[in-house]
């Protein structure tokens, strides 16, 4: 699956009068053998895209829930290469686009080219590297582009108008719009001007804009969805899966726009 396929999925969701719902999971939390089953569960729950997190020893962008999940996965000896091989083994059995979220170092260690080749073999649509801003993209982007895999960019609350323009120019896959200054994890509320901020990015962006960090309820997903193209939910889903409450994930996914 490529970035084009992910774009087709986004188009279909739009036609159905829905918003994109991206679910983040930590690869190998609970063992890598559960990965296929978990992805199928997300498909059934109505999730649009799976963001598959790779555990890392020093996850500076993540809050406690995802840090702990990463530690559990590392204890299972989960590696980037291992995850991509597992994903490749069942890629034809899933229809949902998969985006890999990994810190830069595991990719750098594996080699950007090998990484892109293995992502392609695993049917990956996009890649998110939270510690790689536009300035450092080049070494990762070249080989991903060869395989039509999107390197997804971030816009944050600290992004100036000029920076937003720079980011959306040449953006691929979707824009990851960070909704708070901070790290991943559930929050009760957002700043009042967030909707305007999201709407401004959405207006400028050639690709869908998905809001993430701190989104943990269906209500938040619905509200944020009115200002952009959808949401990314992470810590909440990681917690539900860890607690054996995966069946509740479908309750987080909003239905048709305006229909409760």
């Amino acid at each position: 699956m490529t970035k084009y396929k992910m774009a087709a999925t986004f188009a279909r969701v739009k036609e159905e009068d829905k918003k994109v719902f991206t679910a983040y999971i930590m690869a190998g939390d609970g063992g890598l053998h559960t990965l296929k089953e978990t992805i199928l569960l997300l498909e059934d729950a109505g999730v649009t895209v799976v963001e598959l997190g790779i555990p890392f020893s020093d996850p500076v962008a993540d809050g406690p829930v995802i840090q702990e999940a990463g530690k559990r996965a590392l204890a299972e000896k989960v590696t980037l290469q291992g995850v991509l091989a597992e994903l490749a083994s069942f890629k034809d059995d899933i229809s949902i686009p998969v985006v890999i979220m990994t810190y830069a170092n595991p990719v750098f260690k594996l080699g950007a080219e090998t990484f892109a080749d293995q992502c392609a073999a695993a049917g990956v649509s996009g890649v998110i590297i939270p510690d790689v801003p536009i300035e450092e993209e080049t070494e990762f982007k070249e080989s991903l582009t060869k395989h039509d895999i999107a390197l997804i960019r971030f816009v944050t609350l600290t992004s100036s108008d000029e920076r937003i323009d720079e980011t959306v120019d040449g953006a691929e896959g979707f824009i990851y719009a960070v909704t708070v200054n901070g790290i991943t994890g559930a929050r009760a509320g957002f700043a009042g001007d967030l909707s305007a901020h999201l709407a401004r990015i959405t207006e400028k962006s050639p690709v869908p804009v998905l809001a993430g960090f701190g989104v943990s309820s269906k209500e938040q997903a619905e509200t944020l969805g009115t200002a952009c193209d959808g949401v990314i939910v992470g810590s909440k889903i990681v917690s539900l899966l860890h607690e054996g409450r995966g069946h509740e994930i479908k309750e987080l996914v909003p239905g048709k726009i305006g229909v409760k």
Partner: protein, 402 residues
Amino acid sequence: MSNVYNQPDAKGHYGEYGGRYVPETLMRAVKELEEAYESAMVDESFLAELNHYLTDYVGRENPLYFAENLTKEAGGAKIYLKREDLNHTGAHKINNTIGQALLTVRMGKRKVVAETGAGQHGVATATVCALLNLDCVIFMGEEDIRRQELNVFRMELLGARVESVSQGSGTLKDAVNEALRYWVTNVEDTHYIMGSVLGPHPFPQIVRDFQAVIGNETKRQLQEKEGRLPDAVVACIGGGSNAMGMFYPFIEDESVKMYGVEASGSGVDTDKHAASMTMGSVGVLHGSKMYLLQDEAGQIQEAHSISAGLDYPGVGPEHSFLKDSGRVIYEHITDEEALEGFKMLTKTEGIIPALESSHAIAYALKLAKTMKEDEIIAICLSGRGDKDVAQIKERFEREGQK
């Protein structure tokens, strides 16, 4: 001159190293810092203020001391010690924290966050925050808090809030992670005072430039005393700030050999060391590309050293560049050897060095023996050992019981 040195490039790269590998939320802050720094360094009034504090508060310039007894003991080159241990707060760290605290004020921020390992950088940061009335939060691993209880108390006396970090192994690397997370969350009104030549650009450059006072003074003082350049300079390396400060002013002086001394803990043939240059490979951590201790999957490994200040699994990007270029030679010294260096300097000169600096002493003693009597070594004595005596006492007692 053919050997003009002009690192980093405009985007903060030292060859393939360095850069800005940080979450997008921080990009604005690091760019703001870059602008503030560039304008400050050409602003006479900023430089005058910095100089005033370095002179009247830090106590510079500090001596370049000819260690005659140590020289005789080694039996070779003349050994000079650059006495950073005589600075206010007892180490080179304050050269950087005073500079960055003044930058904080210049950027209109009133809050500071920093990480600390042994507590030296934490104390130096808390000190300048007390001086300039800035709010100060210091992240410190819970294991380090236990080992360096008195430094925690010092920071608190100075008005800082010390946050315990229990994630990971509860040491310096984890404290940096947590300080970065705090900075991302409070970036609008908070400056991160990075303690070493690490982190995203422009930190490695800023810290180097503020520490370059070490090498600049050494050069001038040796010129006065001996009328020439040293043949070798030696400094210990954790992240590498005292070494970078010592080396930088000598980089274009081809005749000066430079030695960076890493901590090899229990030995590089064990898994308990901090020799990122000798045993590591290139990777990305805490905002910068550099040599790191990591496993085959790119997970960062724990560093080990008797000296908490060298207990970091990476080494600054400019050192990584200088290793590859061959301009600096990187060596390593074990815990045992460092303790020998510690004892030797204490007994021969009546100077108790920090365990970090003891690594440089131990290596310089080896090096001096291979050099002629009319040659000169300048060692950066980066800090004093008061903070380490309790730990050393415990170790000697334990070994005595064996």
